[in-house]
């Protein structure tokens, strides 16, 4: 048997030796995919629980309440008698905001005294806060428009002209590729790829440093006839295959079963997944070569892997971060995978525009290769530092 085949056999033997590997390589990525898709299956959270403080109790105020309740982002679940009661309810976490109609609202509006409507939203919770704000604001604007329209009609302006008069400019917002504003499409896609990167890095480092920990690294190198490259590739190739199959299953779930937008060839995104797995393995090999100590290398990978969820900027844009933090995002394979998905999958651009991202992912194996001699030295004299 050739040295490479024997190294491969060792690699397969290792990942079949403990259930932990199945858990980390298959179960965690797939169960998390189902978790995220299930969690956000509504796409956009509708019917935010909010309340109303109606101090006017007039036909107008009841009309406003009905109008607010008919908005899809709001659910008027609570009616309060006072401002204090409404605030307490927000503090208890029952509602995410409330709309206040002051006393004598109808009378003052008719008399032209410009009464004010107040809206309160709890921005401590970003998504429901933003959505209830949007709902309340729309309600207030519609109320204003309705009152103005009544008056304009009264002074003799024809009905069809009032809309143009009240809202002379309208700006239509079109979201490219995701007109539904579906959160699931972003969060699940980006978080799942970052999770993949995290698990690949952790398993890679764990499996290599196990040899050093239990003192089997000398034998491991000897099986590969002294070639660290052969030993590492032999160990990692079976993992690449398992992770890639898991990655494809994940993509199959998202784009096939759950019909997430994919405006490019399935081959493109499948190729990007393969490159993501290999690039993450290479980055992990680089870490473990720098720090051939299981706990330290795993700590670095965990730190980088967890920060990737924030830094690779799936929610907060890199361009808005401090420069030095933003630059850091470019050493993460998942950043390139995410950009490829946005360009190809979401925006359906020509492959040409993603050429640099593919090239960057292809460069990671070089990074893993440069410090292999250092890893070899550590493997020849294994020292376990707990």
């Amino acid at each position: 048997m050739s040295a490479f085949t024997e190294s491969l056999k060792l690699g397969v033997a290792q990942i079949t030796s403990r259930k932990m590997y199945v858990y980390a390589m298959v179960l965690v990525p797939l169960l998390c995919t189902l978790f995220f898709v299930g969690l956000m299956h509504r796409g956009l959270p509708l019917r935010t629980p909010v309340g109303i403080v109606d101090l006017d109790l007039s036909p107008s105020s009841r009309k406003i309440t009905r109008m607010l309740n008919s908005e899809e982002v709001l659910a008027i679940d609570y009616r309060y008698d006072s401002f204090e009661e409404a605030m307490a309810s927000v503090r208890r976490g029952e509602s995410f905001g409330f709309f206040l109609i002051p006393e004598n609202f109808e009378r003052d509006a008719v008399a032209g005294k410009e009464p004010s409507l107040s809206l309160f939203t709890n921005m401590s919770f970003f998504v429901p806060g933003t959505l209830s704000f949007k709902g309340f604001k729309t309600g207030a604007v519609l109320t204003t428009a309705g009152l103005a329209q009544t008056k304009l009609t009264a002074v003799g302006v024809p009905d069809d002209a009032t809309m143009a008069l009240l809202s002379p400019v309208s700006i239509d917002n079109n979201g490219i590729g995701n007109p539904w504003m579906n959160y699931n499409y972003y969060l699940t896609t980006s978080f799942m790829s970052a999770l993949m990167q995290l698990m690949v890095m952790l398993v890679t480092i764990y499996s290599i440093t196990q040899e050093i920990k239990w003192g089997t690294s000398v034998r491991w190198l000897a099986t590969a006839r002294g070639s660290i490259l052969r030993a590492v590739v032999g160990k990692l190739l079976p993992q690449t295959v398992v992770f890639y199959i898991t990655g494809l299953a994940m993509q199959g779930l998202l784009y096939g079963f759950f019909h997430f937008p994919l405006n490019c060839s399935a081959w493109t995104i499948a190729a990007a997944m393969l490159l993501l797995v290999i690039a993450s393995q290479a980055l992990a090999v680089f870490f473990v070569s720098v720090l051939p100590n299981g706990r330290l290398a795993l700590s670095v990978a965990a730190l980088v892997g967890i920060l990737a969820f924030s830094i690779a900027a799936f929610s907060f844009p890199v361009a808005s971060m401090y420069g030095s933090v933003g630059i850091f995002s470019y050493i993460l394979p998942v950043r390139y995978y995410f950009l490829i998905y946005c360009n190809q999958g979401l925006n359906g651009l020509a492959l040409y525009y993603s050429r640099f991202y593919f090239a960057a992912l292809l460069a990671f194996p070089l990074l893993g290769w440069v410090l292999l001699p250092r890893l070899k030295r550590a493997c020849l004299r294994p020292v376990y530092v707990p």
Binding site: M20, M40, P45, S124, P168, A301, M321, L349
Partner: protein, 408 residues
């Protein structure tokens, strides 16, 4: 065969043994924590460093000056005014005028712009004819935060442009004085995160999660290290742990972790918001009292999970990724009311879920403990439930270990 001496007949003696076991477990665990560099990284470095790193990432708080291309088919004073107003918003910035949509699309493809504002040829004419003018904005949807920023900027542009024109038209009608363009004033109040900053919203929740996760990681590291010793056949080093009553040793350990976490808790729940000027409205007594069951429940949760660890390094594989799952379970990013019921129920078994919800309300909305009693009591319940779980698992482990010890 019974490897252990029978329980002491004297009840007073067994009570004494229990308390002695508790004190011993506490002391022993404090020693373990302070003499293991790996545990100290999780227990000290992680809670100190992570909040700072996260705040630095998110501290710019808001999305500003997103580059926008303009395709102006109207080329009039009115359309240029609209572009000037768009450019003047904090969120959007004019990248350049594109000759046509083709050019604008190319800029977008090359990621030079994140949106395109298309002004139709009849824009000024529509305004002149007292009709409604339609403008179209195409927004890149790669990040929702950008879409949100663009949306709010354009809404204000639309309202500002609109009210100018409306007032002019009403004046022209001669109805001036009789009606105004805005018969009702709208007064907007943001509670909690009043500046709507990203860091101010996410940090108060994340710090709670950091407390729980760093503690669970450290506990699992300790348990994995003991398991490593057992794999090597060494039952002697930790013999006191196996011989003490399971309930005393679990409680002693949990108290040690909780005690050790007091400085980190003060730093994370008080100094982090103060240093970074995050929302910090709550009364100190309220959140201090709230943090006690949070720490205890996290410790018990960690002690229960720690029995999954077979090796010292297993904590990394089993625990690290859960931070992301628990973040989403906490309702901070995806609200509870929009979760499927099954996941909502599942999320309650994680202490951080009640912890985040309770602490954010206390910290950012100045809720009192009474107003957050459902979360507070739930944390005590979780602490008790995981205590029982950890004791059962510890008792099983002890039986096995005592047998191994008696054989040795």
């Amino acid at each position: 065969m019974s490897p252990e001496p029978l329980p002491a007949m004297n009840p007073l003696k067994s009570i004494y043994n229990w308390w002695a076991g508790l004190a011993k477990a506490f002391r022993h665990e404090m020693h373990t924590i302070t003499h293991d560099a790996g545990v100290l990284v999780f227990f000290v470095v992680l809670p100190l460093a992570y909040p700072i790193i996260y705040t630095i990432i998110y501290n710019p708080e808001v999305v500003e000056n997103l580059p926008v291309a303009v395709v102006d088919n109207s080329r009039t004073a009115q359309s240029r005014e609209l572009v000037r107003m768009t450019d003047a918003t904090p969120e959007l910035e004019l990248y350049d005028y594109a000759t046509d949509m083709g050019e604008a699309r190319r800029w977008w493809s090359e990621q030079k712009v994140v949106g395109v504002l298309e002004i139709p040829a009849d824009y000024a004419a529509s305004i002149g004819r007292d009709e409604q003018a339609h403008v179209t904005f195409f927004c890149d949807m790669s990040l929702l935060l950008r879409y949100r920023a663009a949306l709010s900027a354009l809404t204000s542009v639309q309202l500002a442009t609109g009210s100018q024109i409306t007032q002019a038209r009403i004046d022209a009608l001669g109805a001036d004085g009789l009606i105004s363009a805005s018969p009702v004033e709208v007064d907007t109040n943001f509670l909690g995160d009043t500046q709507q900053g990203f860091a101010s919203f996410i940090m108060p929740g994340i710090v709670v999660l950091i407390l729980q996760q760093s503690m669970v990681l450290g506990i699992c590291l300790i348990a994995g290290t003991r398991s490593d010793r057992r794999r090597r056949g060494d039952y002697i080093t930790d013999r006191d742990d196996y011989r003490a009553p399971a309930s005393a040793s679990v409680l002693g350990k949990a108290l040690a972790y909780t005690f050790f976490y007091i400085p980190a808790t003060l730093f994370i729940l008080h100094y982090v918001p103060v240093i970074f000027r995050l929302p910090h409205q709550g009364d100190a007594i309220q959140w201090l009292l709230f943090s006690l069951p949070l720490l205890l429940a996290s410790a018990m949760f960690g002690l229960t999970l720690s029995h999954m660890m077979r090796e010292r390094e297993d904590a990394f594989i089993y625990i690290v990724f859960t931070s992301v799952v628990f973040l989403f379970m906490s309702g901070l990013t995806w609200p509870m009311f929009a979760m499927p019921d099954a996941l909502h129920a599942l999320s309650r078994v994680v202490p951080a879920t009640a912890g985040v919800e309770g602490f954010v309300h206390i910290n950012s909305n100045s809720a009192t403990l009474a107003e957050q009693s459902h979360n507070y009591l739930w944390l005590w319940f979780l602490a008790a439930a995981y205590f029982v779980g950890a004791v059962i698992l510890q008792a099983i482990l002890n039986r096995h270990a005592r047998r191994a010890l008696s054989r040795a």
